[in-house]
């Protein structure tokens, strides 16, 4: 089974990420059973019947606004935020907003072009789950990549993982 990182540990996970191709209308879709992240458009079209499914999450692309999910947050178990390219940093803000402004307590998963050298930033912004693309890392490499979560032990600024900046956390000598 594919491995992902959850709360700093490797775990098995076979959640599918449903990607619609252009010919598929979200309204006409029938969902197979099993754990899955559906695109925001599918959630919108089917939210009545999908809500409450514990094995179902919603994924947003980087241009989609997390604010649109706010009315539904208490009915969504997990949200995945897509990195179309690892250099597209919008999902960092989206995750931070979900955690701090909208109080989302469920899973926030990084998907797409997810690379180990960004793990540290992801975790700081509130991602608890990290799913690199299938085949990107071997299990051994992913195991090794866990170290990147700890690249910096004491960051300066406040973020989701450390709600206070260093100058409030620590007594720094003058």
């Amino acid at each position: 089974m594919p491995k992902i990182i959850k709360n700093g540990q490797l775990i098995d996970d076979d959640t599918r990420i449903l990607i619609l191709d252009e010919s598929q209308a979200p309204e006409e879709l029938t969902l197979a059973a099993g754990p899955v992240f559906v695109p925001f458009a599918v959630w919108q079209a089917h939210s009545g019947q999908l809500s409450g499914r514990a094995d179902l999450g919603v994924w947003l692309d980087s241009h989609e606004d997390v604010a649109e999910l706010v009315p539904d947050l208490d009915r969504i178990a997990a949200i995945a935020l897509n990195f179309p390219k690892f250099t597209d940093g919008r999902a960092y803000s989206a995750a931070a907003l979900l955690r701090t402004r909208y109080g989302f307590k469920g899973e926030i998963r990084a998907i797409g072009d997810v690379l180990r050298d960004q793990f540290f930033f992801m975790q700081r912004c509130g991602f608890d789950t990290i799913q690199p693309k299938a085949g990107k890392y071997s299990d051994a490499q992913l195991e090794e990549a866990l170290a990147s979560l700890k690249d910096f032990s004491t960051p300066y600024q406040a973020a989701v993982d450390q709600p206070e900046p260093l100058f409030r956390r620590a007594q720094r000598a003058a």
Binding site: T87, G89, T100, D117, F121, F152, S153, P155, Y156, A159
Partner: protein, 560 residues
């Protein structure tokens, strides 16, 4: 100056370890070129024409003598014996070997230096007034604020992959010496009616392909809130800045597209959530950081040192140097010295390892062990006693570091250009050197007076050509190097973007073109008028006429 505590040191040490591992994985083929690119850029490492180029951060331009000696050591050991001061007050090494860069970073870390965020689509090194703390017109010292913002922006997890690079500058004096109007965020320290410190905030300025003067987004943000306010700006930009087109990705394009009022509304709306939150600055933190920028132990000295005055009267060469390269200091009996890196036999801003060692020695002997790097690509010893100026001058002159041309035509800003930079359209250093060779008569340069000539090798504008009184831009015409000339740009409180005068020129024409421009100025100037003042008064027409001749100008007008 700011000294690291164990927290600062640990972050920099951990960075060295991180980059060592990233480099190892890259060399082992585990990271692709594309994946490694932003990682190395955020560590100041470019792949250039000949070799990698490493840009080392000099936060707000401040260096200790120990750091400068380390730079000398790196230039000698890992490079070809010289370093380059950039227009962002940073230091560049042009010839390091990729696999040795982690070693260089480890060496830098031992003297509290790093290359963090000196490139890449992140918050860059924060720049400021090179005369901070000693300028007579200073209202509030910008350095503690530069350090506070440096720490906040270092590895900020939300803003490591912005649409594009993001530059912040701070000024705390009456005269703006940090080009704050041409930055993504420009901060002007000021006091409100109650005497409280805060910031006037400009946003969306910048040079590059589309030069823009920053717009005022807030007339006054109280100091406690400056981090949360900047975060609000950055968050709006990170979420809504364009990512589809590299040339439209800077915040200035977003601000233009929304209009400053709508942009402000969005920022204020965002700020509501962060304001008064944990990132609100505390008095204790500001006091802690400000405590590092104490006033040195100045002696009580007469305003005019008698020995200095007589040396000045007796030695015209010394007098010429003091007239240009020695500036007033706010403390009686002290002076600010510009150590010129504009010796015409070198590229502007270049400095050798031996020179760096000497400057470090002089800093220890004469200037409390501190050195500043300026965005105009010189070094500064900011606290020299008048009585020691002559001794310093003799040493500096012997080391070719006393070119007495600060603020004159040949004290130009010049980017590395086509000799080094892989983005360049044209070379810039040979143009600078050719103009310096043409204008080698000091009396003539003094007569021409204050003038700023800035050269960039391409539209990225590292050489600040848009704000040069005379701006020179390298352009590519069918694979050949040409130079476009603009006039009327300026930095400072009256920042303006220069206007292109007409068709561009071949490299060989450039000294003549500058001569013609200067001749027009000398013919047109009224009493005491500086070059830029004449250009503002007369407009470009007389200059076009002087450069292109009557026939060409007429023809252009007809065709227009």
């Amino acid at each position: 100056m700011y000294r690291y505590d164990p927290y600062d040191q640990k972050i920099v040490d951990e960075r060295v370890a991180q980059f060592r591992d990233q480099t190892r994985r890259y060399l082992a083929g585990e990271l692709t070129d594309e994946e490694f690119r932003p990682l190395r850029l955020q560590n100041g490492l470019y792949i250039q024409r000949h070799a990698p180029m490493l840009r080392v951060a000099v936060p707000y331009g401040l260096l200790s003598s120990t750091q400068v000696r380390k730079m000398a050591h790196i230039a000698r050991t890992y490079d070809k014996g010289y370093a380059h001061i950039t227009t962002r007050q940073n230091v560049q090494f042009n010839w390091p070997e990729l696999k040795l860069v982690p070693e260089i970073l480890a060496e830098l870390a031992t003297v509290e230096m790093h290359a963090i965020q000196t490139s890449g689509a992140c918050i860059r090194n924060i720049t400021s007034d090179p005369f901070a703390g000693v300028a007579g017109d200073e209202q509030i010292d910008p350095r503690p604020w530069g350090e506070i913002l440096r720490q906040w922006s270092t590895f900020h997890p939300e803003f490591a992959f912005l649409p594009r690079k993001f530059k912040i500058a701070i000024n705390g004096a009456k005269e703006d010496r940090a080009v704050i109007q041409c930055h993504d965020i420009g901060l002007e320290l000021k006091r409100d009616a109650a005497g409280e410190i805060g910031f006037r905030v400009l946003v969306g300025g910048g040079m590059g392909r589309t030069p823009v003067i920053g717009a005022e987004i807030s007339a006054f943000v109280p100091w406690q809130h400056i981090i949360t306010y900047c975060e609000a700006i950055l968050r709006v930009y990170n979420r809504h800045g364009r990512r589809d087109n590299l040339y439209k990705a800077r915040i200035k394009i977003l601000v233009k597209a929304l209009g400053i009022d709508e942009f402000r509304r969005q920022v204020e709306e965002e700020w509501v959530f962060g304001k008064n939150g944990p990132n609100t600055l505390t008095e204790a933190e500001v006091a802690r950081v400000a405590g590092h920028f104490t006033t040195p132990a100045y002696e009580t000295l007469p305003a005019d040192d008698a020995g200095y005055l007589s040396q000045h009267a007796a030695n015209p060469a010394f007098a010429a140097w003091t007239r240009r390269n020695v500036l007033a200091h706010k403390v009686p009996g002290y002076a600010v010295v510009v150590v010129s890196l504009k010796d015409p036999s070198r590229a502007p801003g270049d400095v050798t390892d031996a020179q760096l060692d000497l400057v470090a020695d002089w800093a220890d002997a004469y200037s409390f062990g501190e050195i500043r790097a300026t965005h105009e690509q010189n070094l500064v010893l900011a606290d020299v006693k008048q009585s020691e100026l002559f001794a310093l001058w003799e040493k500096a002159r012997a080391a070719n570091l006393a070119t007495p041309t600060f603020g004159l035509l040949t004290d130009m800003i010049c980017c590395p250009g086509g000799d080094f930079c892989s983005l360049a359209n044209a070379k810039s250093i040979p143009i600078a050197n050719a103009i310096q060779a043409r204008f080698d008569d000091l009396d003539y340069l003094y007569d021409i007076g204050d003038i700023e000539l800035n050269i960039s090798g391409c539209m990225n504008s590292c050489g600040h050509h848009h704000v040069g009184h005379i701006g020179v831009l390298g352009v590519d015409k069918n694979g050949e190097e040409w130079y476009q000339v603009s006039l009327g740009g300026s930095q400072g409180n009256h920042t303006s973007i220069g206007k292109v005068i007409g068709r561009s020129f071949a490299a060989a024409e450039m000294p003549d073109v500058v001569s013609k421009i200067i001749n027009v100025y000398l013919a047109q100037r009224q009493d005491g008028e500086r070059f830029i003042e004449t250009v503002r008064r007369t407009g470009l027409d007389p200059f076009k006429l002087g450069v292109y001749g009557e026939a060409a100008v007429k023809e252009r007008k007809q065709n227009a």
